[in-house]
Symmetry: C2
């Protein structure tokens, strides 16, 4: 299996340097020679949308994705409508920032009826698609790990995300493959092949053993058990050659100085991705 | 959806009262009118195999399963053989105790190559089947939650367990459906239907939110988000009408007096299973 030869596709997902403001993250990427960034909406809001766009553009960075839209299921029709409205704002922000894709973390069920919640996700995306298309923003459904089914997303496998995405045109809706969420899946490679041109993003981190925390337990690439390179080559064989985001939720990584995190991330990227 | 009308099918999986010896668990079941028990091998070893058989028989209890065999993948051929040898002892113990099934927790991979580890699981079961058949013991593959893929089992979905079981005769190898491990699966109901007569066991507990721990975070039925009754009715529609084990890994449950746990378990069984 072949190493990546450069950092041309490397993207800093902003959560990896959670303590940095957007300005600090942009400047950190420039210092480190990381050409892509994936900002989070709360950080964009802190900096202001226009100012965020300007600083990213001035720095010469490209935006791999905006994190995140989604969170469609809710107990009442009014609340579900409020979620759609918020997703529309996320689409506008993604368009303004020139993001390649708006990542959708689809949301948990408000009660025990997970099938109904899954229906609300499909309805939510259906309502969002025309607005996103008008704004030139593609929607990327990110299946989360099944351990987050009750708290973050009722969409938990790549197969399920593919089935959902296929209800829409490939120009409008695709999937995001995050190795942390999908590495365990016996159908992983067949579902990556099935996703094909619908793969709109590829995220890397690692699964460390023992896993210290369900949310903040992700590791730096190489520190865990995921066959990251094999998965990267599979998404490439399926047709994806876009940016590769490093997205790590981990307290120890967050507590380290950002420049050190980026230096380590670059080293591990060549070694393990 | 209909409640269960009696405790005829209720089984205490011994881990639910982890602090009790086998004798205490047997006596507790008799006091509570719980007709089935699922002992763990370490507790059987403490009490002695013949004495375990005798006390369970004298108490008039039936054995729903023995926990557990499995753990097939290992780095060396010698170690994998040692695992097979241990599984043979587990089969002998299950036969001696009159257990309906030996539960297989298939084991994690010794390295990053999860596909190869899955192959070792299939090979291990293949080696074990003739011995188990001679002893009249059926093997029940229990898919574990994907969050346990790196530490306990490379078999993580009911679909995968079905595919594995179908390599063998239905008389020899089936699957065990534990709601905690499978509730999140978009294919759950189709895979339960597919399993049909191969369903050899049904385990209940609940998924509590927020989940306090990846291993010890299971809840008492009714304390979480799992549609337990719907799943129970689905396994019945598929043809399973055997014992229903309550299997709860939870520090607070373990710290409570066993008789109180059994009383609560019975109440919740009628209310939520």
């Amino acid at each position: 299996m072949a190493r990546l030869g450069s950092f041309d596709r490397l993207s800093l997902n902003q959560i990896t340097t959670e303590r940095w403001s957007l300005r600090e993250a942009v400047e950190g990427c420039v210092r480190a020679g990381v050409p892509w960034i994936a900002p989070w909406r709360n950080k964009v809001a802190e900096a202001g949308l226009s100012e965020s766009r300007r600083m990213i553009q001035d720095a010469g960075l490209q935006v791999s994705s905006l994190c995140r839209g989604g969170m469609f299921p809710a107990a009442t029709a009014a609340e579900r409508q409020a979620r759609i409205d918020d997703n529309r704002r996320a689409v506008e922000e993604a368009a303004e920032l020139g993001a390649q894709v708006l990542v959708l973390v689809c949301g948990p069920s408000p009660d025990r009826d997970i099938d109904r919640a899954r229906g609300w996700v499909a309805e939510g995306i259906d309502q969002l698609v025309p607005f996103a298309r008008e704004h030139g923003v593609r929607l990327g459904i990110e299946p989360l790990h099944p351990m987050q089914a009750a708290e973050r997303s009722v969409v938990v496998t790549l197969g399920q995300a593919n089935t959902l995405a296929e209800q829409f045109a490939a120009q409008d809706v695709g999937v995001v493959v995050d190795v942390f969420h999908v590495w365990w899946d016996p159908e992983l490679y067949s579902q990556i092949a099935r996703a094909g041109e619908r793969i709109l993003g590829f995220h890397v981190s690692d699964w460390i053993v023992p896993t210290p925390d369900m949310v903040l337990g992700r590791g730096m690439m190489g520190d865990g058990v995921i066959e990251i390179r094999r998965i990267r080559e599979a998404v490439e064989a399926a047709g994806y050659n876009g940016p590769i985001e490093v997205e790590i939720f981990n307290r120890a990584v967050w507590d380290a100085p950002g420049d050190e995190v980026l230096a380590l991330m670059k080293e591990r990227y060549l070694e393990h991705v």
